[in-house]
């Protein structure tokens, strides 16, 4: 006797008559003139022609329809062969949202506002290198460490920010040693990691040895080739690029090849240099690049840098760079665009990489929190940049406050409540919602409204364009589908 049921067992529905099925929840959004992107609650997607979509909704699909089995397999519909479908979908939704219960994992410490650079788009006011007036005090740092370890999250990352973090190296050491010691004393020590954001221009051997000893990751800035980088990041001697490149080499030598990552900022001067910027990252042996636009905060806004280009122009730049990255991969080079990888992980797997700007409810406070140099606590890095422009809407409190007081701050709770994209106007009907997020600080800055007006939102415009672009590229080209699937699984 066979251990399998005969085929008739599985074919209880006749293929040529309308199938008996129930719809499971989904959303749809037009991809182009005829096709719709349809996503289920867990963010899995399928493309449907309008006519098929209408037949699906009106219950008129036959079991022999080419897409019927796919729609059932991805839990867009359930029939008598898929009674477990709602449970499976629920498990996927649970997996995707498991980070919510963990609370804040990223804790940023602004060690100093001092910096040796005078970048015109810098999001925090540049201060002199020689004054300690803009340094975080030991007393405040100690309290910030205690708040950090009070978070229920079992994995804590402390990120040092500036200014230039290494200009206050003594405090960096103090925070690392204090946090490690306090963590050891916990009943259940946390998975504690450190990262330092630095332009590397003042990094010494002593600093890097300390980083190596305590496994501190390095995140630096590289805006592109020499001329572009030095134009974007002026410093005395006009040698920012040379110092950063030397610093990257030194870090790799002492801490290992994968210990340093880089971020770039797109200025107006970058827009016509998409290929050059990608080539620079390839030449410096990075495994990928994170293409990101300027944010509407700080000096970027004061000096009108932010308005130097709009979302549409940035998207042209993004598309050009992404297509170039794809062509490099086609020629055999393994190289990623990390923003695309983050989104593709959400599109093609059940994991959520937890990227702060693509979280719903918004990642502010819940995903990351920042302890500013003066002991104030903000819900995100952007929130403290907003504060530099005298808008302290997103200040949670100070390091003197208790953990409970900080996280029951009314504005914070309001932001979390209002930015649940699942219930925000337009987002609630959008097929891209499971991949998207909310950025209340951005929308507050743009519209004085935490939710923002989506038809006018550049955040919405930018992400919708990228979502559509990634899907269109995958649908057109099997090579890109394979490549994007690989990216999705490495994020």
């Amino acid at each position: 006797m066979s251990q399998f049921e005969p085929i008739e067992f599985f074919n209880t529905q006749r293929a040529d008559v309308i199938a008996r099925y129930a719809l499971l929840p989904f959303n749809f959004t037009a991809l182009d003139g005829t096709r719709y992107v349809v996503t289920n609650l867990a963010g899995e997607y399928i493309l449907l022609e309008r006519e098929v979509l209408q037949r699906l909704v009106s219950g008129a699909l036959c079991a022999e329809d080419p897409l019927y089995a796919d729609l059932r397999a991805r839990q867009f519909l359930a029939d008598e062969h898929s009674k477990m479908a709602p449970d499976l979908l629920a498990i996927k939704v649970r997996t995707r949202n498991e980070h919510l219960a963990n609370w804040t994992g990223l804790h940023m410490f602004v060690l100093t506002l001092r910096c040796d650079h005078s970048c015109p788009y810098c999001q925090v006011s540049r201060q002199s290198e020689n004054t300690a007036a803009f340094d975080l005090s030991r007393e405040h740092a100690e309290k910030a460490v205690a708040l950090t370890l009070r978070s229920p999250n079992p994995a804590i990352k402390i990120e040092f920010q500036g200014g230039e973090s290494f200009l206050n190296f003594e405090l960096l050491k103090f925070v690392v040693l204090t946090a490690e010691e306090a963590n050891r004393r916990l009943g259940q020590p946390k998975d504690l990691k450190f990262i330092v954001a630095t332009n590397l221009t003042v990094a010494t051997d002593e600093m890097l040895d300390f980083c190596a000893q305590h496994e501190i990751g390095i995140s630096t800035s590289l805006d592109g080739p020499r001329d572009l980088h030095n134009k974007n990041r002026p410093r005395p001697g006009a040698d920012s690029y040379e110092r950063t490149i030397r610093g990257i080499a030194k870090v790799r030598q002492r801490l290992g090849r994968r210990s340093v990552s880089a971020l770039m900022t797109t200025t107006e001067a970058s827009l016509s240099r998409a290929h050059d910027i990608v080539d620079e990252y390839v030449a410096q042996d990075f495994g990928g690049i994170f293409l990101r636009p300027l944010s509407p905060y700080g000096f970027a806004l004061k000096t009108r840098f932010f308005r130097a280009y709009n979302a549409e122009r940035w998207l042209q730049f993004y598309d050009e760079a992404l297509d170039y990255v794809i062509e490099l991969n086609r020629k055999g080079l393994e190289f990623q665009e990390y923003y695309a990888s983050t989104i593709l992980t959400k599109m093609l797997t059940c994991k959520d990489p937890g990227y702060v700007d693509l979280r719903s409810p918004a990642g502010i406070g819940m995903a990351g929190v920042i302890y500013n140099y003066d002991g104030t606590v903000y819900a995100s890095d952007e929130a403290r940049m907003l504060a530099e422009m005298n808008d302290t809407t997103f200040q949670l409190g100070t390091v003197e406050d208790s953990f409970e007081t900080l996280y029951t701050n009314e504005t914070f709770l309001q932001a979390v409540d209002e930015t649940f994209a699942y219930s925000a106007p337009m987002c609630t009907d959008c097929a891209f919602e499971p991949w998207c997020g909310a950025d209340p600080v951005f929308h507050w800055r743009q519209h004085q409204d935490m939710v923002g007006r989506k038809p006018e939102s550049e955040f919405c415009q930018r992400n919708m364009h990228i979502f559509r672009g990634l899907i269109s590229r995958m649908e057109k080209d099997p090579f890109v589908r394979r490549l994007f699937t690989r990216w999705a699984h490495t994020c």
Binding site: A30, V93, R94
Partner: protein, 111 residues
């Protein structure tokens, strides 16, 4: 002068909510006034739209066409939402059941 137009939707074919949502989607291009009307015993939803910027007649026609299609989409979404409301709630309740984010009515959230 900005272009404006009045269109009507049959209320037996389209819900007020679907029409309101469709209008909201184009609030970056036009302002809308939505009102239910009854005429000769039949119900309609009247939409008056005025372009926000000075544009020509053909652009207004294009916007009306886009609005008509969007109303169709919104009506279809409502059908899906209506048919799947119970299972949607079940799935979400299950998905968040261990997070402590959902509490029975009247009970405080789990610690």
């Amino acid at each position: 002068m900005t272009e404006s137009r009045v269109i009507e939707f049959d209320a037996s074919a389209y819900s007020l909510l679907a029409i309101q949502k469709a209008c909201h989607r184009f609030t970056n291009k036009a302002s809308f006034e939505v009102s239910p009307v009854v005429r000769d015993g039949a119900s309609f939803v009247r939409v008056s739209l005025s372009l926000l910027a000075e544009k020509n007649e053909s652009e207004l026609t294009l916007l009306v066409q886009q609005l008509n299609n969007e109303v169709l989409d919104q009506q279809l979404r409502e059908q899906v939402r209506e048919q799947t409301a119970p299972v949607r709630n079940l799935i979400l309740a299950y998905a968040f059941s261990r997070t402590g984010l959902i509490a029975p009515d009247g009970a405080p959230p789990a610690a």
